[in-house]
Amino acid sequence: MTETFDRRKYLRNIRMPFCAGCGAYTVTDVFLKAVHELGYENLKKFVFCSGIGCSAWIPSPHFLADSIHTLHGRSIPVATGIKLVRPEVNVVVFGGDGDIVGIGLSHFIHAARRNLDILVIMVNNMVYGMTGGQVAPTTPLGTRTTTTPYGSFEHPLDAAGLAVAAGASYAARWTTVNINELKESMKEALQTHGFRFIEVVSQCPTAYGRRAGFNDAGEMLKWFKENTVPVEEARKTDETKRPPKIVIGEFVKRQRPTLAETVKTTLEEARREVED
């Protein structure tokens, strides 16, 4: 790299709204570093799309780029419309776990199934943070939140695993502790095609941590550090026989025709048939 990293060139001069210690700052910084290291001088080749929730505010209005801040859960459908009419732009979706795999889950599965050529970065803070800390589809079993005052009685969703099953070209999960891995993973995803999904397990000390027994962001990061297991290792063990841990790593990396490619080949074939 010839230039030093200056995040300000990618950002509007608008203060980010996140709480002290929020993982969204880390995700923002790591993403911009990945973009910088790939040699992008600005974000003009990108379109950012987000829904509702804290992480939806990462790109909008902060990234100096085109961004569209949509309805709760509907960032992926809007991204679908954009990508289908503007195949040349890099569409990146930012969203929280509630947005992407709660209210918007069906779109997530279908976009992966179609292998829509977009990158989805899901900041999984395991809670509905913006509304003050309600249980999410990703909240670990037993966790106290404002709507599970006796502890959550639901099993959490494995979003990265689901992305694999649904057909994503790329799926990975990291925590906000694994900064280098996360950055390299983002670079990998930004340079490949198809439906790419990166889940970042992130700390929300305000709405999650303080009810779940963590005094501050640091304690949550320590928890992440001590409770992760690489996906390769996790696959060798029976998950019912090991303590629940955050499985990290690249879950899948594969080449499948993207939606744009299958649209093109299908229509070309149809045209040939007409001509014959």
Partner: protein, 378 residues
């Protein structure tokens, strides 16, 4: 010269109208009685370098057409009552973000699944008030296959001109019937496209009546949000002035331009003893009933809103000045009636004639009987 006469189904005419208007992106979810629109556009759009995609639900469909519109394509979805209900949040978003797009609602008998294959006119108020918040709607009501074609073009034109979602409120009868249509002379067709920003123009949500619309993906650093925003699209979620200015301007685009937007067909308004206001399939009954009562020497007039919303109030007010009574026949349990009653404002009596169930039209005989009944009242 090739003939411009066609024998088309209403939904087919709608789809062809969309292609003619410049629609190049369609996203939808199958639902009776609108599905033929999706089927026809799936075949037609790729032939004109466009694209149609079947989404996983109506929430995704409205989302995808909003995204495509911001990508620069004229876009459309089509649905019926249940799907239209699901799209309401997206319609509000399109209104707030000034996203042109066309939404076709082919009405069927509700509520809920109701009678899925049978006609109804129960979405007239939903089309006006379905989304939350302070909202104004442009809603067009076709009553023939010809108008399924023409009003679809008009829906796109108004949508592009005013940068707002426009609803084509069709119904099962008009959508599924086949009749002759004569395609307009392509030279005489008016096709409107959104105004693009000039170099340096940045107030994409600015104070003028309809600000210019950029595409995202062009590197102009466009910020789009459904939250209250300033003229540059930057969120202002706590500033009362910004909210008031924005929401008043968005509503004003429609409410202050009713004269330019409103469209209706009328007959004998200034010299009628009995007036009739109706739209969609029901209005075809009115033609017959007016004809037969006229033969009996009764002065009957009618107004048929092509824009149900904004409602053509001035002409109906004029009718209320002369008519002894206004009858509002509709295939629901009173919807258009309330607007007519509001506009008549006590100047004349307003009576409804309602029929629901089985998709059965109000017959000319039923309307003639109603007219006689109203005429014979004191």
């Amino acid at each position: 010269m090739a003939s411009r006469t066609r024998f088309w189904q209403g939904n087919e005419a709608c789809a062809e109208g969309a292609v003619t208007a410049g629609c190049r992106f369609f996203a939808g979810y199958p639902i009776t009685p609108s599905t033929e629109i999706a089927e026809h556009l799936s075949k037609r759009l790729p032939q004109v370098d466009g694209m149609a995609i079947q989404m996983e639900d109506e929430l995704a469909s409205i989302g995808a057409i909003i995204g495509a519109s911001w990508g620069g394509a004229k876009s459309m979805t089509a649905t019926s009552g249940p799907g239209f209900s699901l799209m309401q949040e997206g319609i509000g978003y399109a209104f707030m973000t000034e996203t042109p797009c066309a939404i076709v609602d082919v009405q069927r008998a509700g509520p809920s699944t109701g009678q899925a294959t049978k006609c109804g006119q129960g979405d007239i108020m939903q089309a006006r008030w379905g989304t939350h918040g302070d909202y104004s709607a442009i809603v067009l009501s076709p009553n023939s296959v010809q108008e399924m074609f023409e009003l679809t073009i008009k829906a796109f034109n108004l949508s592009e001109e005013y940068r707002t979602p426009v609803i084509l409120l069709a119904d099962e009868i008009i959508a599924h019937m086949r009749e002759q249509i004569i395609l307009p002379d392509p030279q005489a067709l008016k096709i409107v496209s959104r105004r693009r920003p000039k170099p340096g123009e940045k107030a994409f949500f600015g104070s003028e009546k309809v600000p210019p619309m950029p595409s995202i993906g062009d590197g102009l650093n466009v910020v789009v949000t459904g939250s209250t925003h300033d003229e540059y699209g930057i969120r202002a979620t706590a500033d009362p002035t910004v909210h008031k200015q924005l929401v008043e301007r968005l509503n004003g685009k429609i409410q202050n331009h009713v004269e330019e937007i409103e469209d209706f067909e009328s007959y004998n308004v200034d010299d009628c003893r009995i007036g009739i206001v109706s739209c969609g399939c029901t209005s075809r009954t009115v033609y017959d009933a007016v004809e037969s009562t006229r033969k009996n020497g009764l002065k009957v007039g009618y107004v048929r809103p092509r824009t149900v919303w904004p409602f053509p109030a001035a002409i109906v007010r004029r009718m209320a000045d002369t008519a002894k009574s206004i009858i509002v026949p509709e295939m629901n349990l009173k919807q258009l009636y309330y607007e007519v009653e509001r506009v008549a404002n006590g100047k004349t009596s307003v009576t409804s004639l309602n029929k629901i169930g089985g998709g059965e039209l109000i017959t000319p005989e039923e309307l003639v009987t109603k007219i006689a009944q109203v005429e014979n009242e004191k």
